[in-house]
């Protein structure tokens, strides 16, 4: 990590996004006292992660990307054991039903699927009723349905007044879930804001995609007000525009020339476009 600086407000969902190896886990480890930074200053809930490790770990919950439990530990035993670490004795049933693990209560850890293990670790991060929940690559390896239910769970945590700090390499996840995101690449923060303003300030709002006959010179569209650039991609013509009023101009022109349109649609810019623009590279899974 190289000189990163960030500030997370109470009650928000804050995400750090970036490709694998960008330094997301390292950043999180430093914040939750799992690793000591070479230099710099960190304060979490007014506590110093290195000097007040125990006090800090009582107030935060952590779901780590790569961790396991002993193969033959049962799900309910794990919940009971970890809740005892926080000095509370907890009935496992409530938290397990919240994470859809009720019917796995008596299962061994080794018998759980990848998604179920992930949900169990989220459950363990919540047993101490933390003020901040740290979730590292919460949904990697999950199927689309489990991803959505995880998103609902995270929003539910925010509704309960908890702060959520998460990391992900899925741009769409960061865009839909986070109140604010920091995009990191090679150990540096390249941008930090709400997803909407990042998209507004770093990417074009809309791309108009269409299939048009080669007889039509697509360059003509460059003269329409609001059009930024026109190019071909995968046999399709893509027109980047600043706002939706330019779309009207494009349609007008095409109708005037009686151009036969195939597959005309618009695409909104996403956080991924912002990432591509800022780092000049694609995210690889």
């Amino acid at each position: 990590m190289d000189g990163i600086s960030l500030c997370v407000s109470r009650g928000e969902i804050f995400g750090i996004v970036g490709p694998n190896g960008a330094g997301k886990t390292t950043t999180m480890d430093c914040i939750v006292s799992m690793r000591s930074p070479d230099s710099g200053f960190i304060s979490v809930l007014g506590l110093d992660p290195l000097r007040q490790r125990k006090a800090l770990l009582e107030k935060v919950g952590i779901q780590q990307q790569e961790s396991e439990l002993p193969d033959r530990m049962k799900v309910c035993e794990a919940i009971e054991l970890f809740s005892c670490f926080y000095g509370i004795s907890m009935n496992a049933a409530g938290i397990l039903s919240r994470l859809g693990l009720s019917d796995k209560k008596e299962s061994y850890f080794s018998a759980l699927s990848g998604g179920q293990k992930k949900r169990l670790f989220v459950a363990l991060s919540l047993v101490g009723d933390p003020e901040i929940v740290f979730l590292d690559e919460l949904t990697s390896g999950l199927d689309p349905r489990s991803r959505r239910s995880m998103w609902d769970l995270v929003r539910g945590l925010r509704d309960d007044g908890k702060t959520v700090f998460l990391s992900t390499h899925y741009m769409d996840e960061a865009e839909k879930l986070c109140d604010r995101v920091a995009i990191i690449d090679n150990g540096k923060i390249v941008a930090m804001d709400t997803p909407e303003s990042l998209i507004r300030s770093h990417a074009f709002t809309l791309s108009v995609v269409m299939g048009i006959p080669e007889s039509f010179n697509e360059r003509e569209m460059e003269s329409i007000t609001g059009v930024v650039e026109v190019f071909r991609e995968d046999e399709k013509t893509v027109v980047r525009v600043r706002d939706s009023s330019a779309v009207v101009g494009i349609v007008k022109l095409l109708v005037e020339r009686e151009i036969e349109l195939g597959n005309f649609h618009t695409e909104k810019s996403t956080l991924e476009d912002v990432f591509l623009k800022l780092t000049g590279k694609e995210i690889n899974d």
Partner: protein, 247 residues
Amino acid sequence: MFQRYFRLTRMEFILYLREPSGFFFTLIFPLLLMMLFGSIWGNDPFPGVNFGYIDYAVPAFIGMVIATSGIMCLTTSIAAYREKGILRRFKASPISPLLVLTAELSSLFIITVLGMLLLLAAGVFVFGMRFYGNIPEVILAFILSTLSISALGFIPASLAPTARSGMIIANVMYFPMLFLSGAMLPGDMLPSFLKTFSQVLPLTHVIELLQGLWLGGHLWEYPVQIAVLCGVTVAGFVIAAKCFRWE
């Protein structure tokens, strides 16, 4: 604090009981071996002394149980905990990471005691074992022995990056000790150069001490053994504390 320690120890113990191979090699295998050798040699007193094979073998097999749990079980379980990130998960909760290791040691200690009780029961009820020692002294020697061998096992447990490498290192330490220290075969049967070599193995001192006390000796008659075991305990825990890797 105490409740957390108690719950962790109990959990580790339950997990151990659910793992049939560890269970077999620490509790059942030494018992089977002792029964086998006992059925061959019986327990009639050797010529000129007041003890027979079993009276001599029970403390030796107790040494074998101490080595199996202190070296094999400890190394493999801690190395597996490290490799799988289980230690990392514990470290992210508000307990002291040392509590996890203490609980692991404690649950292994309980297992060692169980193994000892099984051997004693078989010795007494099957072979009519004789015991000439002083019980508090034997208990002290047993605790010192368990501590020193666990401390020795903590060295590879601290360093092995994977469960597999932990297993290999543990095997390299365990088997020579098992065969040469007198745990399985009486040390007197060894040729003299191996007998000399066996003096560098901590388990040899465990077995000499336990056998000596068993047959009526006293702690102060074994200063060398006690000094070696205390030294191994201190050295093992110091090295482990310096080198232990959580991830």
